[in-house]
């Protein structure tokens, strides 16, 4: 009982974080909860859903990229595993959505575990490019294979009304709470993770490998397990994508752009902070979607991307620790 209580506290408690963060989080949750009732614009709701989806992706990537300090440019492969596991199992055997989530996560984690072994012999840019290569190989294989539907992708049968077995709804409000639920699950998992023994080990390895090793931490093993977990977390959002868009193909669920966008949201928000992915996604996703919707179909193309690119460059040059870095700095100045 005591241990269970401790576990629950570890999962739901933010006592180690300053008060303003806890208040900020509460406000955030409140906004997200009432959002579909405040905003009736379908695009606004779609933006919110995509924001939550990318915040969820970012949380998973943050494990490896933020807490682990390894630049992984291949998270899209895990998204793809999740999406394909769900889509194929629903199409082949009519398995309920919630059951398909598990194999998705297991496959993504298992694949990550297997490739992590050779990959962590590499460091820095070699590692980053290796992750990129692995993801691209998977994408090509999914296009090549026939049993995955190849380039023609997988179409899920449309169901009418509200279906909690296959998680298909005729209103975006349901999808909103659905992705919010998944997001919160992942969020509290990461909250537990960062305070767990493994979480501390991962961060120690990031800060100084030699020091961590001298403390008796198995550096290699820590990295591999961390990468495995991060891979598994990536699949959850993929499963959502399958039932949300109802059509997936390798170009949609495992492209390089997706890997980079996931990493970028975390970077912009602030890698290594649990708030980073949320802040980053809150900035990048609405920015991208509204710029694209307004400026994407003009006579002269490309303005939307240029604005987007300028913002990226300014953040990278002026604030490499992301928005969260600014917030931390301001706060430190005040308390001093």
């Amino acid at each position: 009982m005591v241990r269970l209580r401790q576990l629950l506290i570890d999962i739901f408690s933010f006592r180690d974080r300053p008060r303003f963060e806890r208040i900020g989080f509460l406000i955030f949750i409140l906004i997200v909860l009432i959002f579909p009732w405040m905003v009736t614009s379908a695009y606004g709701r779609a933006v919110m859903i995509k924001f939550l989806l990318f915040a969820l992706f970012g949380l998973g990537w943050n494990l490896i990229g933020g807490y682990g300090g390894q630049v992984d440019l291949g998270q899209a492969k895990n998204v793809g595993f999740g999406a394909y596991a769900t889509a194929l199992m629903i199409v082949w055997w009519k398995v309920p959505f919630w059951i398909t989530v598990i194999p998705g996560i297991v496959i993504a984690a298992a694949e990550s575990f297997v490739v992590a072994y050779p990959m962590f012999r590499l460091k820095g840019h070699y590692f980053a490019i290796a992750t990129l290569c692995v993801a691209l190989v998977w994408k090509e294989l999914f296009i090549f294979w026939d049993w995955t539907g190849g380039a023609r992708g997988v179409e899920l049968p449309i169901r009418s009304g509200v279906d909690f077995v296959y998680m298909q709804f005729n209103s975006p409000i349901y999808y909103h709470y659905f992705i919010l639920f998944l997001f919160l699950m992942q969020f509290f998992f990461v909250n537990w993770f960062r305070k767990s023994k493994l979480g501390y080990e991962v961060q120690a390895v990031r800060d100084n490998e030699d020091a961590a090793a001298s403390l008796g931490i198995n550096v290699y093993r820590t990295k591999v397990i961390n990468y495995t977990i991060a891979g598994g977390l990536g699949a959850l959002g993929g499963s959502f994508m399958a039932v949300y868009y109802l059509y997936i193909d390798p170009d949609a669920v495992m492209p390089l752009d997706l890997s980079i966008l996931i990493a970028m949201t975390v970077m912009v928000g602030g890698a290594g902070s649990i708030w980073g992915p949320i802040i980053g996604a809150a900035i990048l996703i609405p920015l991208d979607m509204y710029l694209g919707a307004w400026l994407g179909a003009q006579k002269r193309l490309g303005i939307d991307f240029m604005i987007y690119a300028m913002i990226m460059m300014v953040i990278a040059a002026k604030e490499p620790k992301g928005i969260w870095g600014i917030i931390e700095r301001v706060r430190k100045k005040r308390t001093r």
Binding site: G44, A46, R152, Y247
Partner: protein, 435 residues
């Protein structure tokens, strides 16, 4: 308290962004959402699709006397008291997920009466799912994957013939060559055209094309020496071209978008390939960039298409429209721009017939729509939705394809060589080769 102001900032921005697009003012107009690949690798094609749709809307909205098709006489849609068609364009980026989001935005926020688009079959798949869920008509004039009309959707109508159709045309064309039906060309022994070598890009559309070609080849008894998919947007297609040339097949069939089509032609020229027939599955092979870039090297290449400027010879209406189009964009009307032109035209007729913008009434109007061939600029028998091939629903059954051949470039025109009775010029056979 910095985080609070940060959150506040985010909320303010977000709500601003959400409110602003809704501030459009109500006018007497009917909004049709158009989703097209306006950025990304297919942007060149997207641009000509957009031009075609815009021209059609203009012709519906303003009076263009003397063209000879009904919509040119209209000023707005008569059935709706002269309401103007307003096209709301949206960029799909060629990304299925993005296309679905845009469809949602157009349906719910822009309150469009219906949708048009989205060129790439994969994007059409996701975008039409949104329309189906929302109960909003989606008219698809430009995607040709056979799967699209086999899904039994109730809110999806396809105007263009699909790949099954075009592939049947291809084999009719080849069989016709063997039978000596092509005007001015002596009967070609089948052994001179066999085997076939097929290269398609590895996308939804490419894969569908290959399947159809293999199916018909088997049915009609044509041997295939090579049939493979290649990675689209490739850096280099030398070895793929070598594979085609090396197969010694006399007939090359392609399904490629424009950049790959250019690379293939350049590489085959480099290798001094000597095919008898080079056939392209529309898309890249008819894009203006294709012949602009390659100039004289396109001579002799045939491509399936739905429209060609030379149709003006047999259809004066097409010629008049083409003149207007050329003034506006500098190019002849081609299969891409013409198809989205027809898309808008179908919308105009449906709205006129329905006399309402209510989706249910529109659905009925589209189901019962019949535009006779003489009111179109296409060489079709008309537009009427039905089931021309097994499994099809709401597929235009009166459409048809043509096969064009580039002749006399850089200053030439694509000439129609199939159907044989419509041919505007003698087929150049065998393929003249590259100099």
């Amino acid at each position: 308290m910095r985080i609070k102001s940060g959150v506040l900032f985010f909320v303010v921005i977000l709500s601003l962004l959400i409110v602003l697009p809704n501030l459009s003012f109500a006018q007497k107009e009917v909004k049709i959402g158009v989703i097209l690949p306006l950025s990304g690798p297919l942007a060149p094609i997207g641009k000509s699709l957009k031009d075609g749709a815009e021209l059609a809307a203009d012709i519906v909205n303003k009076k263009y006397p003397g063209i000879g098709i009904p919509i040119a006489e209209w000023e707005g849609i008569p059935g709706l008291g002269g309401a103007k068609i307003k096209l709301v364009f949206s960029d799909s980026r060629g990304d299925p997920a993005w296309g679905a989001e845009q469809a949602k935005r157009l349906i719910e926020d822009e309150k469009v009466v219906g949708l048009l688009g989205a060129y790439q079959s994969a994007v059409t798949k996701t975008a039409s799912v949104e329309a189906e869920r929302a109960g909003i008509p989606f008219v698809n004039p430009d995607s040709t994957s056979p799967d699209l009309s086999k899904r039994g959707f109730k809110w999806f109508w396809r105007v263009t013939p699909h790949e099954t159709w075009f592939t049947r045309d291809l084999f009719d064309f080849l069989d016709g060559l063997v039978a000596g039906k092509s005007p001015g060309v002596k009967a070609v022994p089948k052994s001179e055209l066999e085997p076939l070598a097929v290269a398609v890009e590895n996308t939804e559309w490419g894969a569908a094309s290959l399947t159809e070609i293999e199916k018909f080849a088997k049915e009609r008894g044509w041997k295939i020496a090579e049939g493979f998919k290649y990675p689209h947007k490739a850096t280099d297609l030398t070895s793929e071209s070598r594979r085609l040339t090396g197969s010694k097949a006399p007939t090359f069939l392609f399904a490629s978008y424009v950049s790959d089509a250019i690379l293939f032609v350049k590489a085959m020229k480099e290798m001094k390939a000597t095919p008898k027939v080079v056939w392209g599955q529309n898309a890249g092979f008819i894009a203006p960039d294709f012949w602009k870039t390659l100039g004289g090297d396109v001579n002799g290449i045939v491509s399936r298409d739905v429209f060609a400027a030379v149709l003006g010879k047999v259809k004066p209406e097409a010629d008049r429209i083409n003149k207007i189009y050329k003034e506006r964009s500098g190019f002849d009307f081609d299969g891409s721009s013409a198809r989205d032109f027809i898309g808008v035209q179908v919308w105009a007729h449906a709205l006129d017939k329905a006399k309402s913008t209510d989706p249910k009434v529109l659905q009925k109007a589209l189901n019962e729509l019949h535009i006779p061939g003489k009111e179109l600029i296409m060489p079709w028998k008309g537009v009427k939705f039905g089931s021309p091939f097994p499994g099809d629903t709401n597929q235009n059954e009166l459409g048809s394809g043509i096969i064009i051949q580039y002749q006399g470039y850089p200053d030439g025109k694509p000439e129609i060589v199939f159907p044989f009775e419509m041919a505007t010029s003698k087929l150049i056979y065998p393929f003249p080769g590259w100099k």
